[in-house]
């Protein structure tokens, strides 16, 4: 790891003042579960590291009648065991409790999870050509791509979005509170937070390099929600495909409205599937309708050489996430 100067601000404003307008020379450190590994592999080589871990204000959870706010520094373990969050936002807490093992959940934070870098093995191998590290082409398009994107239209880099909290939060209509220089605060819907990167000056999200996520706000709307993931290993790995869903009603023959179906690990950004939502809007959630939504979700997928198998996984994951959110029997566990 390249050595660096370490800063330990105690307020978000101090932290922002230490950041730079360009990516690369300065990095923020939260739980370190992604950043330190990137540094060891020389993918990140900051000369300055700004720790967010002494900023008390980033570690609070406030649950109100209309919305809940979770500090960016709250750990995944705290999210997954928080009684109110579990009751109100299963799409979030179900995903949080499946991340890594207890060590990752004790260390990893909400902010770090949302801003984690992608898992492409070419990106993470300093010796492979990679667009995101200044190369001329994406090695995954013609290379080993079984875990990459299947919605590849117009994408020159075919990473799969890694965060399994982003999908649930997007389904629930959450937004990020962002602090920038000169005390500029803005609120970004998470549905608009992610961008597909194409070069070394891009990240997987739309924050500027001198902006900090301070918290995430989730509206309390009494939605039914759930997340379902398909994993190769039960722990210590990212899922191959993950789906989060949220809707009003939909149970016991009632119509589902405001349906949001978000696909993870299948395109460079989490994908809010309009075709799947349309297939279900105004209908009750039952096995047949959930199956139809799964089929609609994969319309237009353009897989790479090795990952066509993900299409079927997405279909099934959409169906099961919907059935979980509607409280229908888990036929797959029988």
């Amino acid at each position: 790891m390249k050595n660096f100067a370490y800063f330990r601000p105690t307020t978000p404003e101090q932290a922002v003042a230490l950041l730079e307008a360009r990516w690369g020379n300065t990095e923020m450190l939260a739980g370190g579960t992604d950043l330190l590994t990137l540094q060891k592999q020389y993918i990140a080589q900051p000369a300055r590291v700004v720790s967010l871990n002494a900023i008390g204000g980033l570690k609070t959870i406030a649950v109100g009648e209309r919305s809940a706010s979770i500090g960016a520094g709250v750990t995944l373990a705290t999210i997954s065991s928080h009684a109110d969050l579990r009751r109100l936002f299963p799409a979030l807490t179900m995903a949080a409790s499946e991340i890594g093992g207890p060590q990752i959940r004790n260390m990893g934070t909400l902010g770090g999870n949302l801003c984690q870098r992608n898992r492409c093995w070419y990106f993470r191998d300093e010796h492979s050509p990679c667009l995101l590290r200044g190369g001329n082409s994406c090695s995954a398009i013609e290379g080993e791509n079984k875990y990459h994107a299947i919605f590849t239209q117009n994408h020159r880099c075919v990473i799969a979005s890694p965060s399994t909290l982003a999908t649930g939060l997007i389904a629930l209509g959450a937004s990020a509170e962002v602090l920038g220089p000169q005390n500029r605060r803005r609120n970004v819907e998470l549905a608009k937070f992610y961008t597909a990167p194409v070069g070394p000056n891009d990240r997987e999200h739309s924050l500027a390099a001198n902006e900090l996520v301070t918290s995430v706000t989730i509206p309390v709307r009494g939605l039914n929600s759930a997340a379902y993931e398909v994993r190769q290993r039960q722990a210590s790995d990212w899922p191959i495909v993950q789906v989060a869903v949220a809707f009003s009603g939909g149970r016991n023959g009632e119509k589902a409205t405001g349906v949001r179906i978000v696909l993870g690990q299948v395109s460079p950004t989490p994908l809010l599937s309009e075709t799947a939502a349309r297939a279900l809007e105004g209908r009750p959630i039952n096995e047949a309708n959930a199956t139809a939504a799964g089929r609609a979700a994969v319309e237009g997928a353009k897989p790479l050489g090795q990952n066509g198998y993900k299409i079927r996984l997405v279909e099934v994951a959409v169906k099961r996430a919907l059935m979980l959110a509607a409280g229908l029997p888990r036929y797959w566990e029988a």
């Binding site: 790891m1 390249k2 050595n3 660096f4 100067a5 370490y6 800063f7 330990r8 601000p9 105690t10 101090q14 003042a17 230490l18 950041l19 730079e20 307008a21 020379n25 300065t26 450190l29 370190g32 579960t33 330190l36 590994t37 540094q39 060891k40 000369a47 300055r48 590291v49 700004v50 720790s51 871990n53 002494a54 373990a77 890594g100 093992g101 207890p102 060590q103 990752i104 004790n106 260390m107 920038g180 220089p181 000169q182 500029r184 961008t195 891009d202 739309s206 500027a208 001198n210 902006e211 039960q234 722990a235 210590s236």
Partner: protein
Amino acid sequence: MIELETTEAGPSRRQFLQGTGAAVTATALTGFAASDTPAAELQPGGGGQVPAVGPGAAKITLNVNGRDVQTSVEPRVTLLDALRNYLDVTGCKRVCDRATCGACTVMLDGKVVYSCTMLAIEAQGKAIRTAESLYNDGKADAIPVAFARTDAQQCGFCTPGFVVAMKAVLEANPQATPAEVERGLQGNICRCGTYEQMRDAIYSLCNTKRV
């Protein structure tokens, strides 16, 4: 993409320290010693009075198995390397060094973390416990004893991580079921594959009969 420029360059650390003679105050407030190497030049974004530590070695104090110990490390040194290479606490092992295998597991204020993926400097002020803490006054804790009885290790390299992870579960909940203990081991891998014997150890620790 939004481009935001920082226009306000804060005073450099050196100027600030000279101007106010506040080196001692800043250190006392944050509990972190300023480094031997001034890093003001490295502070293009400003940052007011937040002192830089490093890139040279700086003194840190760690509380390891109930004892405060001091050493001097560069900011990049991980807790694992500080424990093993600077403090000679070698129970925690370095295997993947990438937050996936659990051989480096230690408890921090009672919660398990991967010491390979945490900066030593950030572990200050926390109670760090390694596998060494499971051996006191010539007596081993029930967990390593159960491991020995059930032959739950081969090469043994993963074992200190597993016993610390198990201790964390059983300390937080002495009534934990075998399934709950196993869930607490999700973040640990045994390359020799001694999982079945470990299950025997878990069942004996939970006073449950394995069927």
